[in-house]
């Protein structure tokens, strides 16, 4: 098992979180302790064991292919921080 070499600042960037220097320092030490605890898993014998993704073996659930009434876009647009012309408004994404 990999040694806990968590870089909170880098992971926060991947997670799109702007952390303060104080938060980075605190999480670094708190999560370091959690990862030390989690390292006990390296003792478990997992040779030949299949992973479990879900508690129940339910696969490929499909339904009849017919249209059903869903919620309308107006019902969602009222929740948006900014919208206009039936669209969500965000800062420019393409230069």
């Amino acid at each position: 098992m990999a040694a806990p070499n968590l870089n909170v600042e880098e992971v926060a960037r991947l997670a799109r979180l702007a952390l303060t220097p104080d938060e980075i320092a605190t999480f670094q030490s708190q999560l370091g302790r959690v990862l030390e605890h989690i390292d006990q898993l390296s003792k478990a014998d997992i040779e030949g064991i299949e992973p479990t993704a879900h508690a129940n073996p339910v696969f490929n659930v499909i339904r009849e292919d017919f249209p059903v009434e869903g919620l309308k876009s107006e019902d969602f647009l009222v929740l948006a921080p900014r919208s206009a012309n039936n669209l969500l408004i965000v800062p420019k994404v393409i230069e």
Binding site: R16, L31, I49, A55, N56, V58, V61
Partner: protein, 484 residues
């Protein structure tokens, strides 16, 4: 009956049948009770008394839960009501639709009432991570109610509602039920639709009831279960009557497994004594107590904090300030909008778990953490499958401690995580579990409840409820409520 809030759901339904009182009188009694007690407890984030009274006026008491108010954890969508998950990032959000459980409660005649407090996005074991306010334990308001469904447990214990819904990802129904002295059931994964439940860890989350008796939990289960096309993980199993095994006078012929790994060093000796006395009571009732081993128990907390945080980091990526929820002021560009909206909207525990979950899924660490955890999860599941070859249910403590004082563990996440040690494995295995009151610990002039946990095989809620009901009737603690 002078105080209608003393009644259980079964008692309310009986009163409606005999026309002793009306749903409006009942709703008014609970609303008065909340108004009188919630300043001290803080179980509710908000409530709409006017619409609840209107629904009570229109209630049909001939329905299975006709005219019964049911409190709702703030993580389950109720059309037209706020749904904030205890988070600032969802402040101002109004649910545009009913969760399937809410639609089913309404079809059974129940009245969804109030938004009950919780740890932000159900991440926590004390409800101190709510961004709104902490909830206090009705048995001692200097202490926590447990979590993450602390508001749901405290409201039932304080007779503010006869029953409530919570969600259980690693013990968030059973642990607060234990600490607040009420009954809480985590159904089998897939038994109850998750459509309209804001996702924390999708392979573990399950909605379930809190009530003051096992019978009342069974009545709520009758309303909320069943296959739902909107949740592809909901199981296609026939409807059943969860009250069918209730009322047995003894536990003759019932084999109860006693897992040695659930009586650990470091647990409160008074809790241990209370649980051991309850197990002795089960034996007196005729149950055969069989020593069993769940050898991978020691890994459960570690597996959980990898899998749950990994799933959470993905689920919570939807809170980006674009489609709904909080958006930072005057973002410079789209990245600034994402980074600052999430920084401003999420609290510390949520950020911690997003960081941990992102890390264990990140390139180079996935095999070492996430994949390994999924494999150990298989071992934990097998432990239970092996145990259920020999026993009908497992009996153990719900929590290693009674309710602790507010603030005691907030600076130590690892210690807080270890509070879930007895409840987490059931979520990893997907099985059902229930906590029922089994005694008290006296501390600082307060009586603090202790919970007994029964764990059952997948889809054996009826059997589990039957065992818990027989124990509950013999315990002398059936229907208890906090002295507030």
């Amino acid at each position: 009956m002078n105080d209608l809030t003393q009644l259980t759901i079964a008692g309310l339904l009986e009163g409606y049948r005999t026309k002793a009182f009306t749903p409006q009188e009942v709703m008014a009694a609970f609303e008065d009770r909340v108004a009188a007690t919630d300043a001290a407890i803080g179980a509710f984030i908000t409530r709409d008394a006017e619409s609840a009274m209107a629904e009570a006026g229109a209630a049909d008491p001939s329905l299975p839960l006709g005219g019964v108010p049911i409190g709702i954890k703030d993580v389950i969508n109720v059309k037209g009501q706020p749904c904030t998950c205890g988070s600032q990032i969802l402040r101002g959000y109004t649910a545009p639709y009913d969760a399937t459980v809410i639609a089913r409660l309404r079809a059974a005649g129940a009245i969804p009432y109030g938004r009950l407090n919780m740890d932000e996005f159900a991440m926590g074991s004390s409800t101190e991570n709510s961004s709104v306010h902490p909830t206090r334990n009705p048995w001692d308001t200097t202490r926590i109610p447990g979590g993450s469904s602390g508001g749901s447990a405290a409201a039932v214990a304080a007779r503010q509602v006869p029953a409530s819904l919570g969600s259980d990802t690693g013990g968030s129904i059973r642990q607060p039920a234990s600490l607040c002295g009420c009954v809480g059931l985590k159904p089998t994964y897939g038994r109850v639709s998750r459509y309209g439940l804001v996702a924390f860890a999708s392979s573990l989350d399950q909605i379930g009831p809190f009530a003051r008796t096992v019978e009342d939990c069974a009545l709520v289960m009758n309303a909320i279960c069943g296959r739902d096309p909107m949740d592809s993980t909901s199981l296609d199993v026939p409807a059943e009557d969860f009250t069918r095994s209730l009322g047995r006078a003894d536990l003759k012929g019932v084999r109860l497994g006693l897992p040695k790994e659930y009586f650990v060093d470091g647990m409160d000796a008074r809790v241990r004594a209370s649980v051991e006395a309850a197990i002795a009571r089960c034996a007196e009732l005729g149950a055969e107590i069989i020593d069993i081993s769940l050898p991978h128990t020691e890994y459960a907390v570690s597996v959980y904090y990898i899998i749950a945080t990994a799933e959470a980091s993905a689920n919570l990526s939807r809170f980006d300030g674009v489609r709904y929820g909080r958006r930072a002021q005057d973002p410079a560009d789209i990245m600034d909008l994402y980074f600052r909206s999430r920084e401003e909207g999420f609290g510390n525990e949520v950020k911690r778990r997003i960081i941990l979950g992102t890390y264990v899924l990140s390139s180079g660490y996935y095999d070492a953490y996430y994949l390994r955890a999924q494999k150990v999860r298989t071992l934990v599941r097998r432990d239970f499958a092996d145990a259920f070859e020999k026993v009908d249910a497992i009996v153990c403590p719900t929590s290693p401690d009674v309710a602790f004082p507010l603030g005691e563990r907030t600076g130590d996440p690892l210690k807080m995580y270890l509070a879930d040690i007895f409840t987490i494995a059931a979520n990893l295995a997907g099985i059902c579990g229930i906590s029922v009151p089994c005694g008290f610990v006296e501390e600082g002039g307060s009586k603090l409840p202790v919970g007994l946990q029964f764990l059952g095989k997948s889809l054996d809620e009826a059997g589990l409820l039957g065992i818990a009901d027989t124990y509950e009737r013999a315990s002398g603690l059936r229907g208890i409520a906090a002295p507030i």
